[in-house]
């Protein structure tokens, strides 16, 4: 461990790097003080963390996809107006940006990016992965999507499958509606949702039959 810094690292903020053990100790101190003062309980923190980890994130998108797979009327509404269809499932938090679901089919594979910055359909997919924001991903996806998917994501698409790249913006956030894998006819909606991955909804992966295991 490096020398512990004197006093607080907070003034200025250039002192770097702060030793891991010191960061850990500071969080622990804040948490303990607030709990002792009766302001924020450890349970409250647990609940917040759990909601971010479980409720907000790819799971929300997976629910939308699974519903579209089992309910053709919902699928139609989703493709017509994804923002409104998501609201049906009580997916809130969209203020300003419009969600658009782009459906994969036998002949069409969709993939999402943001060539200007890092616009991402976060209400359904949670926080973006690092590579999504990587300028290389953005540039290469636009220039040669087939090559990028092959080289970086090991996704080999047959040559007769058309790849469509959707460039998100602050106003429009695209996400991919993957195809329902064959052989999943007997699964429940919840089991289907467990198969849906974030990468499949960005369009850099396909959902392999039997890839996930039912919860």
């Amino acid at each position: 461990m490096n020398m512990p810094y004197q006093g607080s690292p907070l003034e200025g903020g250039e002192q770097y790097p702060v030793p891991e053990a010191d960061l850990e100790a500071r969080v622990w101190a804040l948490e303990s003080l607030l709990a002792e003062k009766g302001l924020v309980s450890r349970d409250a923190i647990d609940r917040v963390v759990a909601s971010y980890e479980q409720d907000i994130g790819p799971m929300i998108g997976a629910k939308v996809v699974a519903r579209a797979w089992v309910d053709p009327a919902f699928r139609r509404r989703l493709l017509e107006d994804a923002t409104r269809a998501c609201a049906e499932l009580d997916i809130a938090g969209m203020q300003g940006e419009h969600m658009v679901a782009v459906p994969n089919s036998e002949g069409i594979h969709n993939v999402v990016c943001c060539s200007l910055c890092s616009c991402y359909p976060w209400p359904v997919l949670g926080l973006p992965p690092t590579w999504y924001k990587n300028p290389q991903y953005r540039a290469r996806l636009v220039a040669d999507p087939r090559k990028l998917l092959q080289e970086d994501f090991e996704l080999d698409l047959p040559n007769d499958v058309e790849i469509r790249v959707w460039d998100s913006s602050a106003e429009i956030r695209y996400f991919v509606l993957p195809q329902r894998p064959v052989g999943t006819e007997g699964l429940t909606e919840e089991e289907l949702a467990a198969l849906v991955t974030r990468d499949a909804m960005v369009g850099v992966a396909r959902i392999e039959p039997g890839a996930g295991s039912p919860r």
Binding site: G13, Y16, L30, E31, S32, L34, V40, A44, V49
Partner: protein, 111 residues
């Protein structure tokens, strides 16, 4: 806490959150606790979100100005913690002395 509240905060969190957070939101347990603590303070109405938000944003930009070319060492959770601690101190919720004392007690205890 109503379920909707968290998501309405989430929108704003999503805007400040990671420029480089990585696949996992949290790399270590303390990151998780620090993040949860900040949001819990907002959820319970103890601090306005915008106060936390601008402090996070300014902690990040301060770091960026001081570390040009060192981007790979950036750690969002660390900047978040710095902003959070300053917020609590400035608002008089905890004092710097209390924090340092707590840390010292723990060091003494754990050896």
């Amino acid at each position: 806490m109503e379920p909707g509240e968290l998501r309405s905060v989430d929108r704003r969190i999503a805007d400040v959150l990671p420029r480089r957070s990585g696949e996992l939101i949290f790399e270590a347990e303390w990151e998780k606790r620090g993040f949860g603590l900040g949001i819990a303070l907002v959820e319970q109405g103890l601090v306005p979100f915008d106060d936390l938000r601008w402090r996070v944003v300014s902690a990040i930009s301060l770091w960026e100005r001081a570390n040009v070319g060192q981007e790979e060492t950036f750690r969002f959770a660390e900047r978040w913690l710095i902003a959070l601690e300053k917020l609590l101190v400035d608002r008089g919720i905890v004092s710097r002395e209390e924090i340092e004392q707590k840390i010292a007690e723990r060091r003494a205890r754990d050896g």
